[in-house]
Symmetry: C2
Subunit: 533 residues, 2 copies
């Protein structure tokens, strides 16, 4: 996992999109999203010759050749920056300081292409580091299954926005798609479909490895003791039988906390999960436990009596949740037996209430993650990204020490109404608004209207990525930065069929005679690509 | 243009998805959306052999071979129903009564496929006709440009839902993408881009022809005198110069109604539009005219005085709008000089206000279209299709004669926040809810919860269409009705790469040994396909 804590990178010979914007009469913007902590660029620009361009490690760089994450990132970003030149030598001659995945992303946003295909970068100096160390996105693969491909694409887009944690809410009440080595019945009986709607061990490894190469941690969540209806299908005696009067009603409630078999099962499952997911954290959920079923069950009531919990079922949950890592705020709200290294995850309420929770949790000395204002599945009409942008995660009364306990935030895309058909347009670029809040300096990014043109521009970068990766006709869109060739061909007034030929390299010379330029956002989105502000 | 006024079609040897649902324990539903006026099906089912299956004209059918719309529809639906058998002979032996595009759609929804690839239809009798003759969808190609391909896909999906009018809101303030033969400067200077973001004459012809083959009229809208900012860029002296005090402010308002040149320009433009768009109606807009600019202009004020309009600018608009066909309700609200054959288009307000408008307009003897409750661009979280479904277009106090003047309704997808990246998931299947309201009997379709499983099922049909047409990897998805092969291959636990090979015909024999069946909705949506309820 690669976390940038601080870093300074300069592009000694190079520059930025300024020039383009001035030409088009658009807003003059910094052109990088999220905004670096400090960026100075000059109109002085330098050509980049893809055939003579190399990424290399600076002599002072801690990482050197052989660091697989960066070696691979060099290749990936070379192709992103110079789509016409997908092969070439890498990491040699030209020197840059301290590359990270994040700095490659920044650099890629600074390169632009002109009418005749030449690449440029303006002389730019950047000093950058993230404001918060935890910048997460939650995907919920239980309420609707998400194909692995959809997850991988999300990871790519996350890297563009400098998110660094993929919180994989992998199972929940509706389905259990994780194919466990130890308990294969959990997915065989608890997934929407035992063959197509599961994540095999290979799938999980692929996601983790793909994320790692992009500087992203994978934080798995196995949410219990509530949210476990699907677990019960493949594991008998795990859930609490609910009672109607003195007889079992046939329905089941949360995990049964009074049986030793429960703890044995959990220990075995989490031993597997800990070995499959290398991240040092596991999210254990612990939210929204429905006590009424526990209450209805005479055995549970007898256990409560024996343990001296009286009628306080929060104590029973606290008993169950004893060993945790990251948990939803509900666990804190019962405040018993929480180890000091637990991270609390705030998901409830409006600013006044989550600010109070931030104050209370940090006052108690716990680290905290803020998700409440970024429940991004809650769509509304218009530019609702503005709401995500104006969140102030440290706007609560507390000491400096307390503020340091806010380790970051998370954008949650719950799956009630989201599957692969609408994930991308609902997530991007709306989540990017939160990304800037979590990465950039709050004072420099307090003006939403000032941010808008930069976000619009960044949306185009995302759009080009999704067009590129989803290209429906298998035609290489060679100039994904300008789509120059597309313009050319559609100009012939010869129907859509010609349009679909856009991007054929062979047409380049024909097109270059036009001497005009497509504004960066006027992209032809015939197919795929689902981004909306 | 093909409008079904009434019709009865029977499938003598044939049935429906019932069987599948019973197998899966899902709701037992009629399986056709929108619901036919009357449908009776029996469990008795008959095999359909694609190699011996033909569509043909019944002897009593008004249309006979040589009717290009139906001849083409037979081919299209043959491929949709039997995706494995895309070639074959058509229109011969087997007889059906009175085919229409709409009845083909109904029939296609009745055919299902079983594990081993056989096709069936249950014995079914259907009597069907649409409740309203005008069932429209508005796309706005001015606020964001929509590629022709996105329009064609929308037309396909419209036909599946039995919509029959494409209201093309082609130009507006933000851009003028229509490439006029007579006034090429309008798009050259008024489109977002003069080459890529326009509709050529060929594009327009293609849209009209594609729509016609699917029984859909194309109703063009050139909205004036307001909503014309983009027109002014390519046509000098068309817009009213606004004044700041006694001097022109440099900005422009609505079309200038006092210059003879305006009427000459409009006459020439609309002569062209009438010849390009064969539909007997043109929508002339007439909504939201900002009077303040007219008011500021001394020449306009002088003209008002001369005409005896006093200070009533609604009279000036009425003067301008004299000859109209379909117009937005605003024109009625000024109620002067509206020809009796004008259709008024209601777009404003909550039920109480649009019901009052329905009452008033029909009382005045005008025909009316209802769009107000179906502004589908206004998204909200959750199942907002329910709101579109529960609209009651005839729920106003008025005589039977008045009710007959409600000729239909329209779903409007305004383009402020919509482009090709999110059009499909925002439109479908939400618009299908309105489609059933406009097609089916209101009493039989008054229960939203009962409609839900049918809509879910219909969503899968749409999803398969979009998966099929957008298939990102160019791999033929041969069994788009069951995706049987995909299941087989993904079961091997051998990573995503195998999954992408799904649908290769060569794998069929291997797969068929599995003897299992994928529930119809458990579709693998790795790529493309953007439908959300």
């Amino acid at each position: 996992m690669s976390v940038v804590t601080s870093g300074r990178y300069t592009f000694p010979n190079y520059n930025l999109v300024f020039f383009i914007f001035l030409q088009l009469g658009l807003h003059s913007v910094e052109g990088v999203w999220p905004l670096p902590q400090s960026i100075t660029s000059s109109p002085e620009r330098y050509p980049l010759n893809p055939q003579a361009f190399y990424f290399t490690y600076g002599s002072q760089s801690a990482a050197q050749e052989g660091c697989s994450v960066l070696d691979e990132a060099f290749k990936r970003y070379f192709s992103l920056i110079f789509p016409d030149y997908s092969s070439g030598r890498f990491y040699s001659e030209v020197k840059f300081l301290q590359w990270k995945n994040e700095s490659l992303e920044t650099f890629s946003q600074l390169v632009y292409q002109e009418d005749f295909g030449s690449y440029y970068v303006n002389k730019t100096e950047i000093e950058d580091f993230p404001r918060f160390q935890f910048r997460g996105i939650l995907l919920d693969t239980s309420r609707h299954y998400l194909p692995v491909q959809a997850i991988l694409k999300t990871l790519d887009a996350m890297a563009f926005s400098k998110f660094n944690v993929f919180h994989w809410h992998i199972v929940d009440d509706p389905s259990f798609p994780y194919q466990s080595r130890t308990f294969p019945d959990l997915s065989a009986k608890g997934a929407f479909h035992p063959m197509t709607h599961i994540y095999t061990q290979l799938d999980v490894r692929r996601v983790i490895s793909y994320a790692r190469m992009r500087g992203i941690r994978v934080l798995p969540e196995f949410d219990s003791p509530g949210h476990t209806q699907s677990w019960g299908k493949g594991q008998s005696d795990l859930l609490t039988p609910c009672y109607s009067g003195s007889t079992p009603s046939g329905t089941f409630g949360p995990v049964n906390p009074i049986l030793p078999s429960t703890y044995k099962f959990m220990a075995t499952l989490f031993k597997e999960v800990s070995s499959v997911f290398p991240d040092s954290y596991i999210h254990l959920g612990g939210d929204e436990v429905n006590f009424s079923c526990w209450k209805s069950n005479p055995d549970v009531r007898a256990f409560m009596l024996k343990m001296g919990f009286g009628a306080d079922f929060t104590k029973l949950e606290a008993y169950y949740m004893e060993k945790t890592s990251i948990v939803w705020q509900d666990v804190f709200d019962y405040h018993e037996r929480i180890p000091k290294d637990t991270v609390l995850h705030i998901w409830k309420g409006v600013p006044a209430s989550y600010e109070a929770e931030l104050r209370a949790i940090t006052k108690a000395g716990y680290r905290v993650l803020l998700a409440a204002p970024w429940y991004i599945n809650h769509i509304s009409y218009g530019q609702d990204w503005r709401n995500y942008y104006t969140v102030q995660p440290l706007n609560f009364s507390g000491t400096e020490e307390q503020k340091k306990l806010v380790i970051g935030g998370e954008v949650c895309m719950w799956g009630e109404y989201v599957d692969a058909t609408n994930l991308t347009p609902r997530l991007w670029p709306r989540a990017s608004a939160a990304a800037e809040r979590l990465w950039s300096d709050e004072k420099q990014t307090s003006d939403v209207d000032k941010a808008f043109p930069r976000l619009k521009d960044f949306r185009c970068e995302l759009l080009r990525y999704f067009s590129f990766s989803d290209n429906a006709h298998g035609i290489p869109i060679t100039h994904h930065r300008t789509l120059f060739y597309e313009v050319c061909l559609t100009y012939t007034d010869a129907s859509v069929s010609l349009r679909l030929q856009a991007g054929y390299p062979g047409r380049a010379s024909l097109c270059r005679t036009l001497q005009t330029r497509v504004p960066r956002c006027l992209i032809i989105t015939d197919h795929v690509t689902f981004l909306s502000i």
